[in-house]
Symmetry: D2
Subunit: 283 residues, 4 copies
Amino acid sequence: MRTFRLVIACPDRVGIVAKVSNFLATYNGWITEASHHSDTHSGWFFMRHEIRADSLPFDLDGFRQAFSPIANEFSMEWRVTDSSVRKRVVLMASRESHCLADLLHRWQSGDLDCDIPCVIANHDDLRGMVEWHGIPYYHVPVNPADKQPAFDEVTRLIDEQSADAVVLARYMQILPPALCEKFAQRVINIHHSFLPSFVGAKPYHQAAKRGVKLIGATCHYVTEELDAGPIIEQDVARVTHGDSPEEMVRLGKDVERRVLARGLRFHLEDRVLVHDNKTVVFA
Amino acid sequence: MRTFRLVIACPDRVGIVAKVSNFLATYNGWITEASHHSDTHSGWFFMRHEIRADSLPFDLDGFRQAFSPIANEFSMEWRVTDSSVRKRVVLMASRESHCLADLLHRWQSGDLDCDIPCVIANHDDLRGMVEWHGIPYYHVPVNPADKQPAFDEVTRLIDEQSADAVVLARYMQILPPALCEKFAQRVINIHHSFLPSFVGAKPYHQAAKRGVKLIGATCHYVTEELDAGPIIEQDVARVTHGDSPEEMVRLGKDVERRVLARGLRFHLEDRVLVHDNKTVVFA
Amino acid sequence: MRTFRLVIACPDRVGIVAKVSNFLATYNGWITEASHHSDTHSGWFFMRHEIRADSLPFDLDGFRQAFSPIANEFSMEWRVTDSSVRKRVVLMASRESHCLADLLHRWQSGDLDCDIPCVIANHDDLRGMVEWHGIPYYHVPVNPADKQPAFDEVTRLIDEQSADAVVLARYMQILPPALCEKFAQRVINIHHSFLPSFVGAKPYHQAAKRGVKLIGATCHYVTEELDAGPIIEQDVARVTHGDSPEEMVRLGKDVERRVLARGLRFHLEDRVLVHDNKTVVFA
Amino acid sequence: MRTFRLVIACPDRVGIVAKVSNFLATYNGWITEASHHSDTHSGWFFMRHEIRADSLPFDLDGFRQAFSPIANEFSMEWRVTDSSVRKRVVLMASRESHCLADLLHRWQSGDLDCDIPCVIANHDDLRGMVEWHGIPYYHVPVNPADKQPAFDEVTRLIDEQSADAVVLARYMQILPPALCEKFAQRVINIHHSFLPSFVGAKPYHQAAKRGVKLIGATCHYVTEELDAGPIIEQDVARVTHGDSPEEMVRLGKDVERRVLARGLRFHLEDRVLVHDNKTVVFA
């Protein structure tokens, strides 16, 4: 069923829900899902509606025009999207295949509702897998001595593809600040630890050294500060003294896969709102 | 913060959300929480709002009067409750203390927002614990040859206490149909298995015999059919071949405790709606 | 590190551990992992050792010869395997790709230590995916009116491949008793429910109808009685009233994938012992 | 069933298992549980046996005498304990009752196999609860300007009670280094975060500020460095944007309770071995 997704964040005050609901009712909008959140700490209000597109008398542009006065009145940050317009997701990878293979399979079997215009990787190892799925593969090696040309090329490719989201499927390179800023809240990373524990390199080895009894993975938006962006989703798996770092790496792959897939799905369905370096996720 | 909780179930059709939100806005109601659910299978719609009581110009009765026309228009099953009016919960127990002790402690420490007018038990073992909490204890033994007098007395006590909920905290007796019906959707049981597996007696022994790798507990409303009422909450814990039935009993206690406490909390906060022997839980 | 895996089940009595450990010490065997289990209910004893192959003075045959007297003395059911000899695993599938794709990827990336000599499927849909991995694909359609020829062909293929294990990766056909018996404790199925709940067809629809709050998956050895064989591994995922059967199907795929992969891994590493329709899993 | 628990840590080399098993067999020891772990990274070996006491010809002292030569030969750190000799556990608390109430109930109902000679608290709030259980309550207030007298008194009480373990059941005071050292590997703390995240004060508020999607609790041995001792057990619970720090506090209590209870149980059953600021837990 095709829906419009209306996503709103604004300072909290009385009457927002009524105003929005009334607007939708005026046009006979059939609401299939509605979520609210008042953050009493920050004084902000968050809201998401799904409305059957065929119940409304206008298209997205018409919706935008009609809704603008309300948005202005309440100083809303807002967007409305059409569930039938697939988001364009550029995947970035390195040598590790588990997250990439998982996303490609979900996409191929129809469980991940998006287009994947291309995969960009700093190694050529995963070309075969990607091309078998019928997706273009761009090998953009990163020269450790001068990374900028590579990131210029990455930026060009993302722009060229009009990407709505960029997924770092274990890309293993730190994006430069300019790129983080340009695509703010559109670059999704999977970090292989339960953040804020074990930021940076080799988190499973850090975890083994500290002797934790659970390992985790964190899906978050990339910001300039490493592994410190808004968290979308996290999960953990149990480990014991018997698990070496290598076994943790293996066990962690399952956690990474499902955390990334869940986080990306939330993003694709416009369920994630960012405020104050945190997310509201209307799951 | 004192709120009114408006809980609605009705046949789904366009305009319900708008009508209700508009009603609330007309009276300047400040919505702090809102949840919707459209069940496309049954064609029913479910809705729950929390509204700051001090933002509304009327008390519960005034609310009811003002809202009635809308409720009638949409053929709603509905109720509105006041978060500051504590529900009265009668606890029933047998000899096992873990669920009872847990609920009493949560109540005493202020984590369980209700009154507990009394505990009814078919054995006298737990009197000391209950009375230490300052709660009356009624020992109502059940004569296996003729159980009716005991259940008459139980019914009398529940009525006398004007109970909003009855919690079978491992009561271990099957309630007669008349009692189930009289207090429908008000009697909450904790069953020590992951229903629908292992209905009836000694579920941990059944689980051990079947060799399952997880054990569970289920919190549900009691209906005439044994262990077949609407499920409110469930959870599981991992077991291995090394766990005897006795160890499963011990491990299961933790699951039972937290599943019952969560289920009861949902009930107390008017988060559970029952339809078609299933629950909608606006957690 | 190459190891020998010595797996033993026998009636429990004093001295077994000492005898076996002493045997290994006599030959300077370096034990890297040891697990025991006494089942007080059945009076059976289970034991598994991993011993560094390079610490022992003999090969598998030599081991078998040297150990036989002890095995006889204690009436052991036993086997010893070589970790460097990959087991041969025939995968069977139908149309659903998620379990098959997951196993193929784990195999390809080296996380699943086995050979996959072929995939057998009753539909032709997944040929491309399988052949891209360089694995032969046999399409053996099952004629509903007369299934025996198909199962004869399946049996022939399994025999021809000298399979150590057959994995039903959502094969969706019920194997005939003769086949179950012939490959007893070698055929591994993934059932998409938390057994013993929801045996048989469309378990997610059964789960949705019952209104459970968790869905699950079960990896088990196939026996003649449907979905009643020894359970190797299980896990669950949380669902809500908002999840339709179709969404449960999607959410369940993740559980199925990881439960099957874990169960198969246990089998491949000779960690699973079957007794009395239950498993001992030395995880 | 009364058992002796033999717990060993020593540099790894061939023949340890055989030597120990052979020793036990020589005396007809009936092994009911056996666990090994080789840490290839540190080159240490860990081992735990439970042996039926009635199968052995000696008492603990006799066991110690007989086993000493082997212990010396392999440079073992070792101990042997008698399951029928209950450990003495001093509980320490402050004002929060949830962990204390939980442990007292488990103890009273026979699920926690230990003696609790007394509770020490820096406030007097929980006296009634403790004394109702028939356990002496010592109120030792801590003067912020000079804490040493209080800790001297605490030390005196622990010594007087010959405590085998001290449990900080949300004690909320930092123990001085001398006390940590004197009772090394005997003081068990429950920290209300998933360490190493959110060390120190108000971890739930830190968690809310970071926007994590899971909160946790960690049971660990206390060392001089705050919240940095060897981790015994951890677990987590899911939270959302909707959970305020106060709600996280409430949700976290359940995690704290069960993590502390599990960790303490492992300690009481001599299942925890400490090496290199990490634990081996033979669960």
